[in-house]
């Protein structure tokens, strides 16, 4: 699109030069060319370089390998609450991807695109209605986008995700320079976001909580796009490239790694807590094992 617009501007330039001369005409020609280029860039969506910068939490060290079965047989419920940063459709997509991420690691996942309290309230109302009518519930998807599993097994872990926009700005000076330089200088727009992650066990006990913060910067203009594209092709290594789909890949890699690590830590906390609760019930097994150890210590 940008290329087509630039070609059209060049054609106009030749036509005007053939029919008229003078500074005013040349000025008008250049202006129309730049406007054409600008419209082309906006319309085509090209000429933009999106850059992702992890601010806090998103680039913490990760040990876990999300390709491995880290959550074998863990029953997980994921709640993704829509907010000012993600609309319902984006929230649904996020929830679906997070669900797939943990299913690939062996978990049995149930996803909801509303917050936990809303879902629990809806469930209570539904149960009350069912108790009143004494009819059995059917598995499936209800009208509000809440998917329900076929079994009534209690969940082991609950993951709540809420994404919010913490800052958004557009640099007016950069846009003036962008227009004045025929988009050779980029117009800069940026936004920061925070994803709140809360992980509980099935009883509601808080196991882990973290906030992952990042920033997205958009550079608009042919100068920025072309320069970065050339540098990507000639200079930067694959993992350092900025143009193309790099922003989505980097953000997804960071977000999914951190979510996997947080959930694994929470799973370990949950197991320790379960063990503690079991041990509080009785310590007979420990006593017999201790006797075995004592025998071992006596053996030379």
């Amino acid at each position: 699109m940008a290329g087509a617009c630039a070609q059209r501007a060049a054609v106009w330039d030749r036509r005007w030069r053939s029919s008229a001369t003078g500074g005013v005409v040349r000025c008008m020609t250049r202006l129309s060319a730049s406007v054409g280029l600008l419209v082309g860039l906006v319309g085509g969506g090209s000429g933009c370089v999106h850059v992702y910068q992890p601010m806090s939490g998103l680039h913490d060290p990760v040990v876990i390998d999300p390709q491995q079965p880290n959550f074998q047989d863990v029953r997980l419920t994921v709640y993704c609450a829509p907010g000012d940063h993600l609309n319902p459709e984006e929230t649904r997509m996020l929830c679906r991807r997070v669900g797939t991420l943990f299913e690939n690691q062996g978990a049995v996942v149930l996803t909801y695109t509303r917050n936990r309290l809303q879902v629990e309230q809806a469930r209570e109302e539904e149960e009350a209605a069912l108790a009143a009518s004494e009819s059995e519930s059917e598995a499936g998807v209800d009208a509000t986008g809440v998917s329900r599993g076929t079994d009534e097994a209690p969940t082991d872990l609950v993951l709540e995700l809420r994404s919010r926009q913490t800052h958004a700005a557009s640099d007016p000076v950069s846009w003036v320079l962008c227009a004045g330089s025929f988009t050779l200088v980029p117009g800069v727009t940026e936004s920061s976001f925070a994803t709140d992650v809360v992980i509980r066990d099935g009883t509601g006990f808080l196991l882990a909580r973290d906030t992952l913060e990042g920033r997205l910067v958009r550079y608009f203009g042919v100068g920025s796009w072309a320069t970065n594209r050339i540098v990507d092709l000639l200079w930067r290594e694959d993992e350092d490239e900025l143009t193309g789909d790099a922003v989505n890949q980097d953000l997804s890699a960071d977000l999914y790694s951190q979510l996997s690590q947080l959930l694994f830590n929470a799973k370990m906390q949950w197991q320790v807590r379960q063990e503690g609760l079991r041990a509080a019930g009785g310590s007979g097994a420990a006593e017999s094992a201790s006797d075995a150890a004592a025998t071992g210590a006596a053996t030379p």
């Binding site: 850059v51 992702y52 910068q53 992890p54 601010m55 806090s56 680039h59 913490d60 060290p61 990760v62 040990v63 876990i64 390998d65 880290n70 913490t166 800052h167 700005a169 003036v176 320079l177 004045g180 330089s181 025929f182 050779l184 200088v185 940026e190 920061s192 913060e213 920033r215 910067v217 320069t227 970065n228 540098v231 993992e239 350092d240 900025l242 980097d250 690590q261 694994f264 830590n265 370990m268 906390q269 197991q271 320790v272 807590r273 063990e275 503690g276 041990a279 509080a280 097994a285 420990a286 006593e287 094992a289 201790s290 075995a292 150890a293 004592a294 071992g296 210590a297 006596a298 053996t299």
Partner: protein, 211 residues
């Protein structure tokens, strides 16, 4: 004119931005830990360096992004060590607080600290930080580490963690390695894939998980 002016200004604007770009690689950007704060909060940390809004306002919306470089470059330490050590104080305080809050009846005991972590260097740092945190909670702390006989260790190391820690605790009490006026806080990494630490308590031969 504007074009030439912008070419002059651009390098200075780009150099300040912590995001990856022409003047900063992704790797360099990932070395930074950033937080966006209000100018008032920012100027408390960096007095005189942040331009504040005029008392009557100036129609400019300001916010400050403060970035600090991480102490060690990425990949210098193993990821698990890096995760534990970069947040060591918080881990140690959490474990000491759990010990004090969940077992206030052990306030008069002398606390011993034992660490189970794959790396000896990191173990030593974790143990030292945990002892410091216990001292800050007002508890008595000893540098002594309880020791088991070789036979005990041989048997216990063959057990799964679920039963090994209770058995070791019982043996500590039976062999007198841990006296009745002492309590042991064990700091444990249960799985090489986790980036957190767990705390267990051994008190008079009884083992319990705290954290």
């Amino acid at each position: 004119m504007i074009f030439w002016l912008s070419l002059l200004i651009l390098p200075y604007k780009g150099a300040q931005d912590p995001a990856p770009g022409l003047l900063r690689s992704k790797r360099a950007s990932r070395r930074l830990e950033c937080a966006r704060v209000s100018p008032e909060t920012g100027s408390q940390s960096y007095p005189g360096q942040i331009e504040m809004a005029r008392p009557r306002g100036d129609y400019v919306e300001r916010s400050v992004m403060i970035c600090r470089e991480r102490l060690l470059r990425p990949d210098l330490r193993a990821p698990q060590d890096e995760a534990i050590l970069s947040d060591l104080d918080a881990h140690a305080v959490a474990m000491a607080s759990a010990a004090e809050a969940l077992r206030p009846d052990l306030g008069e005991r002398t606390w011993l600290v034992e660490t189970h972590y794959p790396s000896a260097q990191v173990s030593a740092k974790v143990a030292f930080a945990t002892k410091n945190a216990l001292v800050r909670q007002g508890l008595k702390v000893s540098d002594r580490t309880p020791v088991l006989a070789v036979g005990d260790v041989e048997v216990i190391t063959r057990m799964d963690p679920e039963s090994a820690y209770p058995v070791a605790c019982r043996r500590y009490a039976e062999t007198g390695a841990l006296g009745p006026d002492q309590a042991l806080l064990a700091v444990v990494s249960l799985d090489p894939r986790e980036t957190i630490l767990h705390a267990g308590l051994c008190d008079r031969g009884t083992w319990s998980w705290l954290h």
